[in-house]
C-alpha cells in the first residue's frame, strides 16, 4: 500500500511471527526496524501514517538483543595480547567469527603484558560499529598488569606491576594510551589504587576488581571510589569466608553508594564455576550478573596447544590449562553456550539468561540507551534464537550479518 512517511524514505522492516524480549519478558509482538534502529510502530502509524515495506516471517523464533562480551582474549587462533604484524586482521577475524555465537559487540581483552606490547597493540584497536564485517568493538579491556601476585592465575609473574610510585601516571605510562580503553581490571588492595580508580572513573573507564586478595573493606572502598565490576567472580580472588567475604561480599554489601550497582562477570562454561556457586551468586544478586566468555585463542579451534599472551596453554575439550599445569587459563566456551549453560544450571527464565548476556553488560558500560535492549530507538543489534537458545541468525543495525545455513530466511 502507498506509504506516506514524513520522517524518512528508508525502508521499514517488520519482523513478524516472533517473541521479542522487551521489558524483561518475551512478548508476542512484531519487531520494527528502520535505518538500523528499532522503530516504534505506533508512532509510525499515527504520526507518519506509515507502514512496513518488507515483512519477514520469523517462524516463531525468539528475538533477543545481541550479546555483548566484555571479556574475550581472542579466538580462532588469534590472541589479542600477541603483538603481531597482522594484529588488525586478527581482531577482524575474531569479530567476524563471533557473530555466529550471537555476539554483536565486544571488548577485546589483553592479559598482563609488558609495556611494549600495550604500546604496540592499543593504538591498533579502534572503537567501531559492527556490521557485516563483524561485531562492534566497544573498547579494550585491560586485565592487568596491576594485579596481585598471589592471584595471578595464568598471568605471567614477571610482567606484574604496581603503581605505588606514580599512581595514575604509572598506569598511563605502562599502557601508553587510554584512548580506546573501556575496562581496566586491577587489584584494589594495591597501594594508591583509590587514586587510580578515581582517575579512571573520571575518564569514563569502567574499573573492575579481580586477580586480587582484597578483603571486603578494601573492595568496598574501591567501589566507593568508582569501581563497578568484578572480573570473573570467584576465580582469582579469595574464596568467600563467612567472617570476611572478600570481593565476593560485594554482591550483598550494604556499602554500595546509592543509585549504583556492582556488576560481576561469570564464566558459565561449567568449568570455571561449579553450578552451585553460580546459583549462589545469581540468587544473591541476580541483576548484577554479566556473562563473559573469557575466551582464549583456542576457542573455535581443535584441542591442543595455543598461546595466551606470554604463556602457552593446552586445550582439552572445554578445559584450558597453562601447559603442564592444572591452572585454568581462560575458556573456549562460546557466548551462546554460556547462555545455555547458565539457563540450565540456574533454572532461571529464558529472559533472565538472555539479559545476563545483553542488558546487564550494556548497563555495566552505561550504553543501555542504545545497546542491550530492543527498546524503541535502540541500535537494531539482535538475534533470532530457537527455544533451546541456539542462534539462528544475527543482525547488526538491522542487517542480517550471519545466519544458520538451515534457516529459510
Amino acid at each position: 500500500m502507498p506509504s506516506n512517511k514524513s520522517v524518512s524514505d528508508a525502508p521499514i522492516f517488520q519482523f513478524t511471527n516472533c517473541r521479542i524480549l522487551r521489558n524483561h519478558e518475551l512478548q508476542r509482538e512484531d519487531l520494527w526496524v528502520r535505518e538500523g534502529k528499532i522503530l516504534n510502530p505506533e508512532k509510525l502509524f499515527f504520526d507518519e501514517k506509515g507502514s512496513a515495506d518488507i515483512q519477514l516471517d520469523c517462524k516463531d523464533s525468539i528475538i533477543a538483543p545481541g550479546f555483548i562480551d566484555v571479556q574475550i582474549n581472542g579466538g580462532f587462533g588469534v590472541d589479542f595480547s600477541l603483538a603481531t604484524d597482522d594484529f588488525k586482521s586478527g581482531i577482524d577475524l575474531v569479530s567476524q567469527k563471533i557473530l555466529s555465537h550471537g555476539v554483536t559487540s565486544f571488548c577485546p581483552t589483553l592479559v598482563t603484558s609488558p609495556p611494549s606490547v600495550y604500546h604496540q597493540i592499543l593504538p591498533q584497536i579502534s572503537i567501531r560499529n559492527g556490521g557485516a564485517h563483524g561485531a562492534g568493538i566497544l573498547g579494550a579491556h585491560l586485565e592487568g598488569p596491576f594485579i596481585s601476585k598471589e592471584k595471578k592465575g595464568a598471568h605471567p609473574e614477571h610482567c606484574l606491576r604496581t603503581f605505588e610510585a606514580g599512581a595514575f601516571q604509572d598506569l598511563l605510562a605502562t599502557y601508553g594510551t587510554l584512548d580506546c580503553v573501556r575496562i581496566v581490571t586491577l587489584a584494589p588492595e594495591m597501594k594508591r589504587s583509590s587514586e587510580v580508580i578515581h582517575e579512571l572513573t573520571k575518564r569514563d573507564i569502567c574499573v573492575s576488581l579481580g586477580h586480587s586478595v582484597a578483603n571486603l573493606s578494601q573492595a568496598e572502598e574501591a567501589v566507593q571510589h568508582g569501581a563497578t565490576f568484578i572480573t570473573h567472580l570467584f576465580n582469582a580472588m579469595l574464596p568467600f569466608h563467612h567472617r570476611d567475604p572478600g570481593i565476593v561480599g560485594l554482591l550483598t554489601s550494604d556499602k554500595i553508594p546509592a543509585g549504583r550497582r556492582v556488576f560481576y562477570g561469570m564464566i558459565s562454561d561449567g568449568i570455571h564455576t561449579n553450578p552451585a556457586a553460580l546459583r549462589i551468586a545469581h540468587r544473591a544478586h541476580p541483576k548484577g550478573l554479566v556473562l563473559v566468555t573469557d575466551a582464549i585463542a583456542g576457542m573455535g579451534l581443535a584441542p591442543g596447544r595455543h598461546t595466551l599472551g606470554q604463556q602457552v596453554v593446552e586445550i582439552d575439550g572445554l578445559n584450558t590449562y597453562i601447559a603442564g599445569t592444572k591452572t585454568l587459563s581462560g575458556s573456549v566456551a562460546t557466548m551462546d553456550a554460556c547462555v545455555r549453560h547458565f539457563l540450565e544450571a540456574t533454572g532461571c527464565s529464558v529472559e533472565t539468561a538472555l539479559e545476563a548476556a545483553s542488558l546487564h553488560p550494556a548497563q555495566l558500560l552505561g550504553i543501555e540507551h542504545k545497546k542491550g535492549t530492543l527498546n524503541y530507538d535502540s541500535d537494531a543489534d539482535f538475534l533470532m534464537l530457537n527455544d533451546s537458545l541456539y542462534v539462528q541468525a544475527t543482525y547488526i543495525a538491522g542487517e542480517q550479518v550471519w545466519r544458520q545455513d538451515t534457516l529459510g530466511m
Binding site: M1, P2, D30, P41, E42, F45, F46, K49, G50
Partner: protein
C-alpha cells in the same frame, strides 16, 4: 430495532464480529469505494475486535478498503499514554490488521484548537461519504460515546466534560485513582451517530442492564442518550443474557423468538477468499 440476544459475552462478541465481517464483504469495497466503519473503545468491544482480527489473520477479511472513525478520545492525555484511545486502537486492533494508516481516524485530544479539531472530524466523515455502520457501546448511565446525560440528541462532534458516573467507571484503567482520570473528552455527537446508515450497539454484562432497559423500553430521553436510536431506521442492539436482566420478560421472549431471522445475517459467514 433488532435486539439480538446471545447467551454470553463470547457469543455476543462473535455474532457482532460476524455481522461486521459480512457487511464489509457484501459491500465489496474497492479502490475509491471504501466501507466506512465507526468504532468504539472500552472493555465491551474487545471480544469483537479479537474475532475480527482472527478473520483477518485467516485471510477471510481485509481492511484495505475500510475507513474507520473512532467515537471519542480523552483531552489532554498524551497520545502515547497507555490509556489513550489511540493506544487502545493500536494495540487492540490496528496493529493486527492491514488498514491503511491514512484511513484510520481518531480525534486528537491534544489539538491546539479543540473545536476546530471536532469540526474537521465531521468534515472528514462527510468527505468519506458518511458512515456505513457505526458500532458503539453504552455507558452505565446510558450514554453513547461521551454524550453524557443531558447531551442534545442532535449534537455534533464536540468537547464534553465527563460525568461522575463515567469517571468512576473509567477509574479502573487509571489504577483506581480518580485524580488520574481525564475529565474532558472529544466525542462524536448523538446526531453524528444518528447520521450513519446503520448503527450497532454492543451491550454486555449485568451492570449495563438498567441502561439497556432505559434505552429501549422507556421513552426517548436526553438523560439516556442511547434512547435516541429508537428513531433510527436501522439499529441493532447485540447483547448477552445478563444485559437483559432489567427488561420485561415479554420483550426478551419476543426478540429471542426472532433469533432464527437474526442468524440469517451472520450465517453463512462470508469470506474474501471466495472473491
Amino acid at each position: 430495532m433488532r435486539l439480538v440476544i446471545l447467551e454470553d459475552y463470547d457469543q455476543a462478541s462473535e455474532w457482532a464480529a460476524k455481522y461486521i465481517c459480512n457487511r464489509i464483504i457484501q459491500f465489496k469495497p474497492s479502490q475509491g469505494r471504501y466501507f466506512t466503519l465507526g468504532l468504539p473503545t472500552g472493555s465491551t468491544p474487545l471480544g469483537c475486535y479479537k474475532k475480527l482480527i482472527e478473520y483477518h489473520k485467516n485471510g477471510d477479511l481485509s481492511f484495505k478498503y475500510v475507513k474507520t472513525f473512532n467515537m471519542d478520545e480523552y483531552v489532554g492525555l498524551p497520545r502515547n499514554h497507555p490509556e489513550s484511545y489511540h493506544s487502545y486502537m493500536w494495540n487492540n486492533f490496528f496493529k493486527h490488521i492491514d488498514i491503511d494508516p491514512n484511513n484510520a481516524h481518531i480525534l486528537d485530544g491534544n489539538a491546539p484548537d479543540l473545536q476546530a479539531e471536532c469540526d474537521a472530524f465531521e468534515k472528514k466523515i462527510e468527505e468519506a461519504g458518511g458512515i456505513d455502520l457505526f458500532v458503539g457501546g453504552i455507558g452505565p448511565d446510558g450514554h453513547i460515546a461521551f454524550n453524557e446525560p443531558g447531551s442534545s440528541l442532535s449534537s455534533r462532534t464536540r468537547l464534553k466534560t465527563l460525568a461522575m458516573d463515567t469517571i468512576l467507571a473509567n477509574a479502573k484503567y487509571f489504577d483506581g485513582d480518580l485524580s488520574k482520570v481525564p475529565t474532558m473528552a472529544l466525542t462524536v455527537g448523538v446526531g453524528t451517530v444518528m447520521d450513519a446508515r446503520e448503527v450497532m450497539i454492543l451491550i454486555t454484562g449485568a451492570h449495563k442492564a438498567f441502561a439497556l432497559y432505559k434505552a429501549i423500553e422507556e421513552g426517548v430521553n436526553h438523560m439516556w442518550t442511547v434512547s435516541a436510536f429508537q428513531q433510527h431506521p436501522r439499529t441493532i442492539f447485540v447483547c448477552d443474557e445478563d444485559a437483559t436482566l432489567e427488561l420485561r420478560v415479554k420483550t426478551v421472549k419476543y426478540f429471542k423468538g426472532l433469533m432464527h431471522v437474526h442468524n440469517k445475517l451472520v450465517d453463512p459467514l462470508y469470506s474474501m477468499k471466495e472473491n
